[in-house]
Symmetry: C2
Subunit: 83 residues, 2 copies
């Protein structure tokens, strides 16, 4: 069943300590090409039937108002994904 996927990331200019820790660990384990890591959320919204365009528009509002914190996070994508 298709679902709506919402992707949320910490804002560019905010520190992301979890990402920084992973970046350092990757550098230590032999991956110097990776200069930075940022960690955000992938949220799947499942529906009983294939989501409509209206539900996608609604999901965008839910993503901005409910699934993310606009002070520290950006919604980077809201899209319908096939299974």
């Amino acid at each position: 069943m298709p679902k709506i996927v919402v992707q949320v990331m910490p804002k560019q200019d905010l520190l992301d300590p979890q990402g920084k820790a992973v970046a350092k660990a990757l550098e230590r384990s032999g991956h110097p090409a990776i200069t930075a890591v940022r960690i955000g959320k992938r949220i799947e919204l499942h529906y009983a039937t294939a989501p409509t365009d209206a539900q996608l528009a609604e999901a965008k509002k839910i993503a901005e108002g409910f699934l993310s914190n606009g002070v520290i996070e950006d919604v980077v994508e809201v899209s319908i994904e096939q299974d």
Copy 2:
């Protein structure tokens, strides 16, 4: 600069209490069409130059071995994303 995006989700048959809580909150706030919510991670790997196919292959290994816990999580996507 293009980056590699790794997407990780809790395994299908595992309980996702955070997702369940969000699903219930959405139902209460007037979104009954959403039957389930699952919450995973979106991890961005940044490079100094555009990532190569070899780096994408390496990122897939990093995603499986380091960025996800194979016992409870699935890597659902590893892809290069343009900015």
